[in-house]
Amino acid sequence: MTSTTIADDARVMHHPKTWIGKYVWSQDHKVIALQYSVTAIAIGVVALVLSDLMRLQLGFPDAVKFITPSAYLQFLTMHGMIMVVYLLTALLLGGFGNYLIPLMVGARDMVFPFVNMLSYWVYLLAVLVLVASMFAPGGPTGAGWTLYPPQAILEGTPGRHWGIILMLASLAIFVVAFTMGGLNYVTTVLQARARGMTLMRMPCTVWGIFVAAVLGLLAFPALFVAAIMMMLDRGLGTSFFMPSLVSMGQQTSFNGGSPLLFQHLFWFFGHPEVYIVALPAFGIVSDLISTHARKNIFGYRMMIWAIIVIGALSMFVWAHHMYVSGMNPYFGFFFATSTLIIAVPTAIKVYNWLLTLWRGDIHLTVPMLFAIGFIFTFIHGGLSGLFLGNVSVDVPLSDTFFVVGHFHMVMGVSPVLVIFGAIYHWYPKITGRMWNVPLAQIHFWITFLGAYAIFLPMHYLGFLGVPRRYYALGETAFVPASAHLANQAITIAALVVGVAQILFFYNMIWSYFRGPKADPNPWRATTLEWQTPQTPPAHGNWGPKLPVVYRWAYDYSVPGAAEDFIPQTVPPDGVARRPAT
């Protein structure tokens, strides 16, 4: 290790000399971000393949021999858990949070670089434990991603022996990793902003990630506690969640536990989790739209307050996932009301995105395509949420494909479109190379239209009453032949979208080595990460002097200015003016 002191920074920067110090045991936020992203995407691909296998079974029952009923349940459990926790949470916070927070607030690194490194390695351990469960005797758990007891740990549920224990252990480890990361994100935003970077000058991306990190820190303890308690129930025979019951003709030793307690704990984590994923996506998409429409974000303060209000409200709506579990009708009324109130700040955000586009100088770049695609899928997913938020409408739709269509649209497809947009947007900064545009456009259109082909018909299936989580529908009077046809069409669309992701990976990998050199600021953006002295940014990000911030992040198309953007680092007297005509 060599040490140099950077002129205006009291902290000593350690520049690692060895390859391992630089890329493996790295404390640099950018390397950790890439480690997080690659791991999350790798395990996400596994989940994608699992979803296509499930679709094969649903579209063409019994065509693939190794998809047994047990395997089907295991696939759906692993698909759900991986996508929500190990891909989306890890990629949006561990990946984008790590890469963007220090660069966007003008810091050299996270405030606790060692803890940050530890966070990644503990996350990797969580992923490895999860993967180990797939190879354990009996396979992974097939309890459904919500892992509801008592069935999750009783005889008859696949993976009852090892799968469930490894799943719970992996989740507990993940929470530890997340907490270490989350402490870093929150403290860095609070403490390490560059001079002049007031809270209200931060880009929406940082606000979204910041509030999501706070939410995660407050919500993940519920998952941690639930995982530990269920592990004790399964492993040592306590009865936190397990009632007295007879299983396989045998009286079990459990008594007095309450499965509902688990549901409360799970959803106390589970609902904020939706926003832990959505808020960073909201923030990122705001910046994509503003940058590529060359217009300041409409209603910046409203956008920030909406993020904060959505975050706060999301802690008070968890029981809307439990309408059919049985609850006092007054509770149902309360949770339906609080759920519908969230529509207000969310609608403010959607209107503001649309109003930012309104009369903007829209550049239909690939990141912009994905951002606009997100607005579509998010509005559709959000509107079907209004159905499910109402108790009386939710009850008949509960556990049908309507729910699957809804949540995939709102928290599956929508954040994933933002993630693709964000990767295309920041790729030139991260790698210093540009990707292939036509390939990226084809990737967008297949993914966007394909997502509709997959999830829109699911709403129809749900209205028919087709249940989710069923291996096969069998002979059912209420399911018409058209439903089977829809299922086949969905499966074909899912396979096409799945395979089309190869275009994305090919583009990313090929461009990394062969792509044309990228401009340091190809989108002519105002935010700090585009103003680094080197592209990709070097260790320490800013060279000898930290940046100073003179303006907010949205000075696009300022009247009178010579250029259509003014970077945050340009002082008031440094703006080039257009000569008066």
Binding site: G182, N184, Q191, L199, M200, V225, S244, N255, G256, L265
Partner: protein, 214 residues
């Protein structure tokens, strides 16, 4: 400027207070990052213990199901050692406060005594809690013996793990002091350890009270 003032700023105009003219270190940003990080962690741990407390109250109340065939209810015994342990933890916290004051005034001898007492008493507390576990096990109120027993093991286990984490920092700080580091160098560590110990004392008092009253 307060947080409300900052959040109502119109960033497209010049901010109310020119951030470049503002003294570098004020308010939250004047605090060391470790102090802010620790306080954020307090929020995390508070939520965790509060959720366990809520679960305990619900599980022992209406949410518990019983068929009547296997009575779920068995009286919990509360070993007297628990009161002794509580007193030890109070003393440990007080010792940390003493160490903190000593570090502030640069009195190395008092600092050493304070550190030794603070960490040593915490170890006595942990040993005491382990002995309570053994006593409960012997009395049939162990982890699987009664519901309250299960909660007791869960709560004391998680609380003990937190204390062990604190003891790791205590060990590192003590080694530095023994190696002759000046008080100023360890002041932040001692300061944060003291706050952490007070927090864990508060957690224990609240959780113990919840268990006793449920």
């Amino acid at each position: 400027m307060g947080i409300l003032g900052r959040l109502t700023e119109k960033p497209w105009l010049a901010p109310a207070v020119d951030p470049l003219q503002e003294p570098e270190a004020r308010g939250l940003r004047a605090l060391p990052a470790a102090a802010v990080g620790l306080h954020v962690y307090f929020a995390v741990a508070t939520v965790m213990f509060l959720l366990i407390a809520a679960t305990l109250v619900m599980r022992m109340g209406d949410h518990g199901f019983s068929t009547g065939q296997q009575p779920d209810w068995r009286p919990m015994i509360w070993p007297r050692l628990l009161w002794f342990n509580t007193a030890v933890l109070v003393l440990s916290s007080a010792a940390w406060e003493w160490a903190r004051a000593a570090a502030e005034r640069g009195r190395l001898t008092s600092l050493r005594t304070g550190l030794l007492a603070g960490g040593g008493l915490a170890l006595v507390f942990l040993a005491g809690q382990l002995d309570v576990w053994r006593q409960l096990e012997d009395a049939g109120c162990g982890l699987t013996g009664t519901t309250m027993g299960a909660f007791f093991y869960l709560i004391t286990g998680l609380h003990g793990l937190h204390l062990l984490g604190g003891l790791a920092v205590w060990g590192r700080t003590s080694l530095k002091v023994l190696a002759g580091a000046p008080a100023a160098e360890v002041r932040l560590s001692v300061d944060l350890c003291a706050v952490y110990w007070h927090f864990l004392l508060l957690v224990w008092l609240v959780m113990f009270a919840v268990m006793l009253s449920t």
